[in-house]
Symmetry: C2
Subunit: 351 residues, 2 copies
C-alpha cells in the first residue's frame, strides 16, 4: 500500500489514529438519488450495471468525486454472490430482488454448488474487474471499500426468496432444521470470505459486511444461530484489513455484534453514538450514525443533528461519519454534499 | 371493582403483587389465525366488525375462552379514533389501512375537528358499547383491556396516509414544522386520553398504548418529538388503572419509554427480558416478550424459548407473559393454546 493510502483520513480513523478531521462516506452513495448515477442506470438494467465493470467503476468514481467523501465504495449488490452457489436471481422493477429457487429443504442444500471451495467465485470476476478499474482511477489518498452481505442476511434472502416483513420462513427453518441451517450458513460464510479476499486482492483497502436483516432476531437467537458464522467471516479475513461490521434494526445486539467481530462497528441511527461506543468499548472504531431522513430536513436541522453525532463521538479517534443506513432515493444530492462539508468542517481536531 | 377482578392474576401482576402463576395474554389474540374469528370475519368487512359491538364482543370473548388467557383485549383497531377528528379511513383487502386525506400542512390541521374537546369521541360509541357487552359476559376474574395507538404512531398514519417503510414524510414534517407537529400531537394525545377514559368508564380494567412505529426514531428525536406527548397521555389517565406502554423496534428507547410513563412496559423480542427489566428498574412491571415466529416452531423449541423468557423474569412479581408483537396470521391456534398452558405450568411460584 502507498503511504498516501496508508495515511489517508479514512484508514487512520479505521485504525483509531488521530486525523485532521473526521472522515465521512455515505452508505449507498452511488445510488438513485444522484443524477450521475441515474443517467448511467437509464441505459442498462440494474443487474447489467452490476455486471459491467466499466459502468460499475464509473458510478463508483463519480459518486466519490461529486460528494468529496473520504472513501469510495464499490458499486455492487449483495445478492450476485448467490448465483455461483446455484441460486437464480431476478430484479423486478420496483419490486426488489427475487430468488427464483429459494432453499427450503436439505435436498435444496445438496443442490447448491460448493461456493465453499472457492472456485465458482471466479464467476464474480466482474466485481474484481470493477475493483481494479476503480482503484486505478481513484485519488491516491482515497481508499476503496469492498463489501458483502453477512451470512444471516444472505441466508434470509436465499430462504425467503426476497424481502420479508417478519422473516418467518427463515426463523422456522433455523429452529426446525439445525443441520440445514448450519450447512447453509457455513457455505455462505466460506463464500463471503472467498469473495472478500478476492476484492481485497483486486485492490480494496477495507471491507464492510452488511447484516441488514439481523435486527429481526432476539439476542439469544443471534448468539446461537448467527454469531458463530459472522465470527467465522471476520476471523478468516486478513487481520491488517479494516473490517466494518454493520447491522441495523436492533441496538440490543450491539455487544454480540462486537463479539462476532469487525474492527469498526457500523451503527444505525436508533442508538445514541456515544452510549453505543461506551457499551462496545473504546478499543474498537465506530461508524455512523445520522438518520438518513435528516438529509431531507432543512439545513439548520441537518447541521444540528450532524453536530450531535460529532459531539457524541467526542473527538475520540476512531469515528468514521456515515448515515445510520443507506441514503434514500428521494434525497437532494446538494444536501449530501453539504453534509460532507459540515462533517469536515465540524469534525474532530477542527473544533 | 369486584374482589375477584381486583385479585385476578393479571391485575395482581400488573401491581407487582405475588401471583399463583405468571399471567399471560397474546397481542392480537382475537385475530385471523383463529377459526372462530375467521368465521365471523367472513361475513362482514373489517371496519364493520370493528363497528358492530355484538360482533366485536363475540370475537373478543371467544378468543379469551379458546385460549384460556388471563385477560381479554377488546377487538378494535388503532385507527377509527382518527375518524371523529376528520380523517377518512379505508381498509383495502391485503393492502392495509389507508387515510384518504392525510395531514401535510397547517391548513390540514385547522381542518381537523377538535377531538381534543372530547365531544366528537361520542362517535366512537360502538367501542364503548362493545366494552360493556364484553364485560357483562367475561368470567368474573378476567380483566378486560382497552387500548389505543400512541400519539406518534397515530400521527405517522395521519401523515403518511398508511403504512411506511422509513417514515420519511412523518420525520420531514416533524423537523420542518414544529408548530404543526405540536398541534397534531397535542390533539392526538387529548383524543387518546378521552378515548381511553371512556373505555375505562365502560368497563376496562387496564389499557395498553401501542407505539408500534416509534422504533424508527433515534433516542434524541424520541426525547424531543414524542416523549412529551406520550407522557401527557400517561399522566392524564386515572392513576389506579394499570397502563401498558408497548413500543417495538428499538430497545435503545427503553429508558425513555419508561420516562414517558406506563405502569407496565411492553417489550418486543429484540431484547433479553431480564436485561431490559434491570435497565428499566424493578419498580415497574414488564410484559413480553417471546418472538411471535417461535409459535411456528416445533413444540420443544416453543417450550425452551418460553422457559427462557420465564427464567429471564426470574420469578420476580410484575411479569405478564406475552409475545413481543402480535400473533402472526399463519400461526396454528393449537400452538397458542399450548403456549398459554406452558406459561401457567412453568410460571412463577409453580417452578
Amino acid at each position: 500500500m502507498t503511504p498516501e493510502l496508508y495515511n489517508s483520513r479514512f484508514l487512520r480513523a479505521a485504525r483509531r489514529e488521530t486525523v485532521d478531521t473526521t472522515p465521512v462516506w455515505i452508505m449507498r452513495q452511488a445510488g438513485r438519488y444522484l443524477p450521475e448515477y441515474r443517467s448511467v442506470r437509464d441505459k442498462v438494467s440494474f443487474l447489467e450495471l452490476c455486471k459491467r465493470p466499466e459502468l460499475a467503476a464509473e458510478v463508483t468514481l463519480t459518486a466519490q468525486q461529486a460528494l468529496g467523501v473520504d472513501a469510495a465504495i464499490l458499486f455492487a449488490d449483495l445478492l450476485p454472490i448467490l448465483e455461483p452457489m446455484g441460486f437464480q436471481l431476478e430484479y423486478t422493477a420496483g419490486g426488489g430482488p427475487k430468488i427464483l429457487n429459494p432453499i427450503r429443504t436439505l435436498d435444496d442444500l445438496e443442490r447448491m454448488r460448493p461456493g465453499s471451495l472457492g472456485c465458482p467465485l471466479g464467476e464474480l470476476g466482474f466485481v474484481y474487474d470493477a475493483v481494479r478499474l476503480v482503484r486505478k482511477q481513484l485519488p491516491a489518498d482515497i481508499p476503496l471499500l469492498g463489501f458483502a452481505g453477512a451470512p444471516f442476511t444472505l441466508a434470509s434472502y436465499a430462504i425467503e426468496g426476497g424481502g420479508s416483513r417478519d422473516f418467518a420462513r427463515t426463523k422456522r427453518l433455523m429452529y426446525a432444521c439445525p443441520q440445514l441451517w448450519d450447512g447453509l450458513l457455513r457455505r455462505l460464510a466460506n463464500s463471503i470470505v472467498g469473495y472478500l479476499e478476492r476484492q481485497i486482492g483486486a485492490g480494496c483497502q477495507a471491507v464492510q459486511i452488511f447484516d441488514s436483516w439481523a435486527g429481526c432476531l432476539s439476542p439469544a437467537d443471534y448468539r446461537c444461530y448467527v454469531l458463530p458464522y459472522s465470527r467465522r467471516v471476520f476471523e478468516s479475513l486478513p487481520p491488517q484489513v479494516p473490517t466494518i461490521h454493520f447491522l441495523t434494526g436492533n441496538p440490543a445486539l450491539l455487544p454480540l455484534q462486537r463479539q462476532a467481530g469487525g474492527s469498526i462497528i457500523g451503527l444505525d441511527w436508533r442508538v445514541e453514538l456515544g452510549e453505543a461506543w461506551k457499551r462496545l468499548g473504546h478499543d474498537v472504531a465506530v461508524q455512523g450514525n445520522l438518520d438518513p431522513v435528516v438529509l431531507q430536513a432543512d439545513r439548520a436541522t441537518l447541521k444540528a443533528q450532524t453536530r450531535t453525532v460529532l459531539d457524541a463521538a467526542g473527538g475520540r479517534p476512531g469515528h468514521i461519519f456515515n448515515l445510520g443506513h443507506g441514503v434514500l432515493p428521494e434525497t437532494d444530492p446538494e444536501q449530501v454534499k453539504a453534509l460532507v462539508a459540515m462533517v469536515h468542517e465540524m469534525g474532530v481536531a477542527r473544533r
